[in-house]
């Protein structure tokens, strides 16, 4: 009876020690008397109890490693606080277990020191603006270093870059000043442009006015020329007529005009005063001229 109980106890304990279920996302290493023997993948496994032991339970999923905030001095002597996050995945459980002691701590320190190395060789503006490049550089170094440990570092991201408070304030002021400068420059440019345009407009107006005047003068001159021409023509025609006919013909016209003028004076509103032209004698003379014409006309007959 006691033997039976012992056997049953042994079997039960054996089952407890020998049956291993590995859940997905993990791998267990098996050690036989402390020496690595094999790796258990997810699923149900039976190992030999007592002589085989589970050495390490390795998480094969991608994991997040928080890199604590640290102070880094940039190349231009600004002290900045930087924290980061690192994503890694164990791809070889055996190496991750036996090639390195305390993988987590090793990786954390590796990333921290490399952040210092990479960022310490940059100045602050570069740090703040070239995150992608920084991430890529750190990743390259860390990935290469963790390769012998069977770890694949997929991503390292700088989370926060915090310059000291007074520096941030100074940056803000610089930004403001720059914007202000830009605004002032723009304003001045606007004024300049406006003035130039105004001057141009004035110039154009004056040019147009002058052109108008010039044109007008030209036309006036032309008109006068034409008038003169016409007068000359008229004179020539008159003189031709005189040459062909008689001088007395002119006198006829003049006399007509005189008489007309006298008529107008006579019929004007203020009849109280009758203006006689100074040269009444010449009117009379012209009448005499008319008489001459008459005489001539009669004599020809």
């Amino acid at each position: 009876m006691e033997l039976t109980i012992a056997v049953v106890a042994l079997v039960v304990i054996g089952i407890f020690l020998g049956v291993k279920t590995v859940s997905q996302g993990n791998q267990y290493t098996v050690e036989r008397f402390g020496k690595y023997r094999k790796t258990l993948s997810p699923g149900l496994h039976v190992i030999v109890p007592i002589i085989d032991r589970i050495g390490a339970k390795v998480n094969m999923m991608e994991q997040v490693l928080d890199i604590p905030a640290q102070q880094v001095i940039s190349q231009d002597n600004a002290t900045v606080t930087i924290d980061a996050v690192c994503f890694y995945q164990v791809v070889d459980s055996v190496k991750a277990t036996y090639e390195v002691n305390q993988l987590y701590r090793a990786m954390q320190n590796l990333v921290m020191t490399n952040i210092r190395t990479v960022l310490g060789s940059m100045d602050l503006d570069w740090m703040l603006s070239k995150r992608d490049e920084i991430n890529a550089r750190i990743l390259t170094i860390v990935d290469e270093a963790t390769n012998p440990w069977g770890v694949k570092v997929t991503r390292i991201e700088i989370k926060d870059i915090l310059p000291p408070h007074d520096l941030v304030e100074a940056m803000g002021r610089q930004m403001k000043a720059e914007r202000l400068k830009r605004a002032q420059i723009l304003e001045a440019e606007g004024t300049k442009q406006a003035e130039i345009l105004e001057a141009e407009g004035e110039k154009q107006a004056q040019i147009l006015t002058a052109e108008g005047a010039k044109e007008a003068a030209f036309r006036e001159a032309e008109a006068r020329e034409r008038q003169a021409e016409a007068e000359a023509n008229a004179t020539t025609m008159v003189s031709k007529a005189i040459a062909e006919g008689n001088v007395q013909a002119i006198n006829y016209f003049v006399a007509q005009k005189y008489v007309d003028a006298l008529g107008k004076i006579a019929t004007s509103d203020n009849q109280k005063v009758l203006m006689l032209p100074l040269e009444a004698s010449s009117v009379i003379g012209s009448v005499a001229g008319v008489a001459e014409i008459a005489k001539e006309a009669f004599t020809k007959k």
């Binding site: 407890f16 279920t21 997905q24 149900l44 995945q89 290469e144 390769n147 069977g150 694949k152 991503r155």
Partner: protein, 151 residues
């Protein structure tokens, strides 16, 4: 001791069911086999009755605990229920990249270079190839991919 000396068949049945219930609450596929064994002993008791003395009952229980595990292993191997890691690319990055083509970020020199995979870089080993060349993944070893020139 009462239970050890004169157990009815239903005692075993209940014992087996309790073990199975415990297995539900604490999964680990350990109590499962004991539960199955207890149920088998109960069934045998039901049919054989007095032929099975208490000692034998316990020995049968122990034997069937071990036998059920071995039976399950051979069964799952035959039916490929417990698929080995090699057939699955879950939690196995290198495996999931086999057969795919990538561009080299740095030239392969002395057999080692870097290829851009997604948004990260993998170390690759293969024939020397200039930067920007296309390579096809044929295998992997840890975090290093084995590649050959892609046409």
């Amino acid at each position: 001791m009462e239970f050890f000396s004169n157990a009815e068949y239903w005692h075993w049945m209940v014992f087996g069911l309790v073990l199975l219930i415990l297995e539900m609450f604490a999964p680990g596929a350990i109590l499962l086999w004991l539960g199955i064994a207890a149920l088998i002993v109960g069934t045998l008791l039901l049919f054989l009755g007095e032929l099975l003395t208490p000692e034998w009952q316990w020995i049968v229980f122990s034997v069937f605990s071990v036998v059920s595990i071995i039976a399950w292993r051979s069964f799952s191997k035959k039916r490929k229920l417990n698929e080995p890691e090699e057939d699955s690319s879950l939690n196995n990055r290198g495996k999931s990249l086999i057969g795919k083509t990538f561009t080299l970020a740095t030239a392969i020199e002395n057999g080692v270079g870097k290829a851009k995979v997604g948004d990260t870089y993998w170390r690759v080993t293969g024939p020397d190839t200039p930067q920007g060349g296309k390579v096809k993944v044929v295998g992997f070893e840890g975090a290093t991919l084995k590649v050959e020139k892609s046409l």
